[in-house]
Amino acid sequence: MSQALVIVAHGSHLNPDSSAPTFDHADTIRASGAFDEVREAFWKEEPSFREVLRTVEAEEVFVVPLFVSEGYFTEQVIPRELRLEGWDVDEWDSDGTSASHVTLRASDVDKTVHYCGPVGTHDAMSDVIVRRAQSVTGDPDVGPGFGLAVVGHGTERNENSAKAIHYHAERIRAMDRFDEVEALFMDEDPEVDDVTDYLESDDVVVVPLFVADGFHTQEDIPEDMGITDDYREGYDVPAAVDGTRIWYAGAVGTEALTADVIVERARDAGADVRDSAERVRERTGDVAGD
């Protein structure tokens, strides 16, 4: 039976960079041959969530949300717009970061839909954060002598957003790779503005758990941390702030290895990806070399 992968992401009416990582990861997975079809869909761009399922031919569709946390989009918007029959968030049986997948029918197409948890909460995303640190420092062995800050938006309407940040910070701390690992936030304590107060290392890698670069990752966070006075002028990597070298990584979702996590989400839901998952890994495998 043929199988399709549909990557659903937010997209933007204003900024073309928002959908760029989605396209990049989709291309990587397409080239691996893991799925008969790969299609992107967006809340703010086209194809919309409402219409994407009718654009794929496969009867079996794996839908992977390229979102950083469980919450409003994964629990309400995406299932509603995809018209997933009988969707009930309880079926994910999630503690806020543990949603895996649920199999449903969509009411406007004759297809089986395996609706997966978001990319951002998959265990493998911890590895992508580390990879991002390797990429931004150009050092495959980065860790000793370095601190790592994982940055999230904050709670706003959704406590799961912070849970995902804490989850990965905890997992990376347990790797015992960096001297220190902290979870920081844009709009709640501990705030990313005070990054040099929360981390003692001379070198600190700052990785925002965001899908795409945009307003928050390219304007707010750099200015809040003080690595630039005006985002339009850019920032240095590393940039010195209060005697600390800040290695600011930009959105983790732009890291090529994210494609791997998307495939893992689908594999967890039963997609037959066999050795093509390895091919995705090969394509996303170079540190700072791609």
Partner: protein, 373 residues
């Protein structure tokens, strides 16, 4: 497990002999396709087209006759074995007018310059390769007459996403079906499956929805139900007054702004007056741009009108109107630098501002709020 853009190529790339073999086999179940009718009683064969009708044929005579009408056989073979989904097949057959044009006429046209169709701002020209496989030239309709060599050549359907991202002036196009597709590129030689993929990247879901409409099962979601479905920051749009829904459609959904043909109305029983558009492909519900804009208008429509007193000359009143018209129609770039007879000319606008605005930007010095803010 690979995607299969080559499926049709494999099917159509068969030799004539293979196609006749396939037809002989298919005769057992009977063939009736685009004028070609073939059957067998187990001993002999019957072969018919609008031009010829024979029965009692042995296999050799059958093959000879099939060879004389090879285009019919090829046409049957290509479409029957293409293994395309119903919507893609319908779209590809629509491009060459397969339901209207008899096979000899259609094949002649495919051989001589091809058969062209418009799809939004796309121009698609179907031609015939030597083996009967269809090949497609895809480009902007405004580039119809240009040589391939003068255009930027593409072969990978995925490129379409990037060609569709910005308009001619490098501005981001959030709405794929806006009539602002840039020119200058060409896909000169696409196989059928790749053509459909490229079209779906330029105009996502248009083929699927067009086909649903033709089959009579387009799932239109009207304004009311779409608005009621919204949550979060868009939940407010259901408060937009009914008369404003009309203005939304007039502002966003007419042909000058979007090439989809609007099939949704306020609700099933309450059509909107705004022109639906002449496009080939339907719009089955208010899109995310319309919902986002409607959210702003819902907030703005909460304001009560107020009376202001401005002093303007008749020409100045007309100039304000001309500026709104020029902006609304996207014409400001067309107004020549020195053409001060145009109300929306920049010097004219600057003169009006110098004369009529106070230092806070208030028209005629009249504050917006009663408290003088």
């Amino acid at each position: 497990m690979d995607e299969s853009p080559d499926r049709t190529r494999r099917a159509a790339g068969a030799t004539n002999a293979e196609q006749f073999d396939a037809l002989l086999t298919a005769a057992e179940d009977g063939v009736d396709f685009d004028g070609l009718r073939v059957s067998t009683d187990g001993e002999t064969y019957a072969f018919a087209t609008p031009e010829v009708e024979r029965s009692g044929l042995d296999e050799r005579s059958f093959r000879d006759l099939a060879a004389q009408y090879a285009d019919y056989v090829n046409n049957w073979y290509v479409w029957t074995l293409a293994d395309l989904s119903a919507d893609r097949e319908a779209f590809l057959r629509w491009i060459e007018g397969a339901n209207e044009r008899p096979v000899p006429e259609r094949y002649a046209a495919l051989r001589e310059g091809g058969i062209a169709r418009s799809w939004g701002q796309l121009r698609i020209t179907a031609t015939l390769a030597d083996d009967g496989e269809r090949r497609y030239d895809l480009r902007h309709e405004a580039d119809a007459g240009r040589d391939v060599a003068d255009l930027d050549r593409h072969d990978d359907p995925l490129d379409a996403r990037h060609l569709a991202t910005d308009d001619e002036r490098g501005r981001y196009r959030p709405l794929k079906t806006a009539p602002t597709l840039r020119r200058g590129w060409v896909y000169p030689d696409l196989p059928s499956a790749d053509l459909v993929r490229a079209v779906d990247f330029f105009y996502p879901a248009t083929v699927a929805n067009w086909h649903r409409e033709r089959a009579g099962d387009l799932d239109v979601s009207h304004w009311r139900e779409t608005a009621e479905r919204q949550t979060g920051i868009y939940g407010v749009v259901e408060e937009l007054p009914p008369e404003a829904v009309e203005w939304v459609a007039e502002a966003c959904c007419v042909d000058s702004q979007c090439l989809k043909r609007r099939e949704w109305d306020e609700d099933e029983a309450t059509p909107l007056d705004a022109p639906r558009g002449d496009g080939e492909f339907p719009c089955r519900e208010p899109c995310s741009l319309v919902i986002a804009a409607a959210r702003t208008w819902t907030t703005l429509e909460r304001e009560e009108p107020r009376e202001y007193t401005f002093e303007l000359t008749p020409s100045e009143k007309e100039q304000v109107e001309a500026i709104v018209e020029a902006v609304a129609d996207g014409r400001t770039d067309e107004i020549r630098e020195a053409d001060v007879s145009e109300g929306a000319n920049r010097y004219r606008a600057r003169y009006l501002r110098a004369k009529r605005f106070d230092d806070e930007g208030n028209l005629c010095g009249v504050p917006t709020d009663e408290d003088g803010a």
